[in-house]
Amino acid sequence: MPFRFSPVASNRMLVVNEVGEFIFLDRQTFERLVSYDLAPNTGIFLDLKGKHFVTDTAVTPVIDLLATKYRTKREFLKSFTGLHMVVVTLRCNQRCNYCHASSQPTDQQRWDMTPETAVNVVHKIMESPSEVIKIEFQGGEPLLNFEVVKTVVREAKRLNRKKNKHLDFVICTNLTLVDAPTLEYCKKEGITLSTSLDGPKEIHDRHRLMRTGEGSYDRFMQNLHFSRSILGHDGVNPLMTASQESLSHFNEIVDQYAALGFQGIFLRHVNPYGYAQNDATIQSFVYPMEDFVEAYKKALLYIIELNLAGTPLVEGYACILLSRILTPFCTGFVDLQSPTGAGINGVIYDFNGEVYPCDEARMLAKMGDRRFYLGNVNRDSYLDIFTSPVLQELIEVSCVETLPGCHSCPLQPYCGADPVRNYAIQGDLVGHRPTSDFCMKHKAIIEFLLELIDQDDPGVMDVFWSWITNRTLAEVRGEAPCSN
């Protein structure tokens, strides 16, 4: 049966099949496998057979089983464009060092989305065939143009009376501007808040600055508690961005997230675009990916320990990868998909109605390269935008099966491609894997997770599955009294 393989750090061969079932083989066993030298009644042969790497008997039913699993794994292809990001304004009251959203001063109203554009955006969104629609308000700081947020929500709900889709709303806000009426509105309309928290005060305030220059941490914390008091404890979810300074403080950041009672943390490498490339702070954001990966691995082990000691906290990135590796189901994740999630599963509407496959593509346009411009909601039809040659090209160059370096990589079933990032950093859509830090990062982290899974420590596996299945450790362990 077909499979892909690659040597890994532990001097073993990692062997993975088309649907992501994997096995580690020592070199000798691998040699015997590819020399057709394993006896069919041995344990290792049956291990390989049970995972459909080999068969000494029937072939057709095995192909049928693999086909069924393959179809299940690719089910995300059916949900065309579920995530819709709407940039309601470019204005922001903060000026964070790593911002890649080209934020503008608060008094420049011309960077706001107009209500007319907003209505056109909603009409395009609701034409998407996806049954589940998530509308994410971005900025700038969306609360600076809250009326248009309301317009979008109102119009989307109105159209949805006929369409009957599952509709979610998220506002991405720095929280510094929330007030009671805003929060009450969010509560009433079922909107959750997504925010940014980079760590304890010194770390957060190093790069997350108000436009006036002072740190934003104290206001953030005050408003976090205020927001939770109205929206409920889980109504606010934070994201963190790792600067070079935070790498050595991951454990403290994790501790802070746990202390604040967040359900999860997403240890996120900064995007090398936009203001993150400004000269003054460049050394904070352009650091070797190896350093991030090493810090990430250590932090992940620390988070696992925390969980085992009774503090539930999910590491979001690992959780997504683990779902891909360990479950037979499909795991959508816009940032790491094949074909790329950009445009297919997510799309972004700029304040002026321009549509881009992802935020990075929008940023490139801001910097003068309109390579990925898909159209404008005020002029173009849904079909014009979503069947644009740009999007078709993106899909063509983002199927990992065909990309040089990816085509033979065993991690293919867990990974994905990001042609826009390839273009932005390496100058072409296909990219160059041997020097890509995107590739380096995913390879290192996925292999790290595979090794952890292979070690099969009961505690670690319980934690992983508590993340994947969103349950407590006690539930995962099936702990319950004698029911008779």
Binding site: M1, P2, F3, R4, F5, S6, P7, E18, E31, V34, S35, A58, V59, T60, I63, D64, L66, A67, T68, Y70, R71, R74, P404, G405, S408, H432, P434, T435
Partner: protein, 124 residues
């Protein structure tokens, strides 16, 4: 036997800042040679050119940016990569059709899968 013996056949000539390998075309196909040089293209400048009849010459020159830790290992890495790539090609020749059949069956099930399998594998 797919792997053993292949290393023996490659003639390696070390040069300052790199090395040169003469590879038999009977053992390594063009795709494998290119894929292996591609895999190392982050560390080396590579050149592939014809040698005497039936052979190909690969020259790898270490880039200045190549980390010290990798310098000593590049030759070994290249030869291993080459074997892996050729093995992948060999496996793909044998199983590529099955891989395509799996994908086809997943999205557009065949009327007679058994017959299709038999045609490819020789048994069902």
């Amino acid at each position: 036997m797919l792997c053993k013996g292949r290393l023996m056949d490659a003639k390696v000539k070390r040069k300052p800042g790199g090395f040169e390998v003469i590879l038999s075309k009977a053992l390594y196909e063009k795709e494998a040679v290119f894929a292996a040089t591609y895999a190392l293209s982050g560390l080396c400048r590579n050149r592939v050119e014809p040698a005497q009849a039936g052979y190909v010459k690969v020259t790898l020159e270490l880039l200045d940016s190549c980390p010290d830790a990798d310098r000593a290992r590049v030759e070994n890495k290249f030869m291993n990569e080459l074997i892996d790539q050729q093995l992948r090609l060999d496996l793909e020749k044998r199983y590529g059709a099955i891989r395509r059949l799996i994908v086809q069956q997943a999205f557009a099930p065949l009327d007679n899968l058994k017959a299709a399998v038999k045609k490819i594998v020789g048994r069902d």
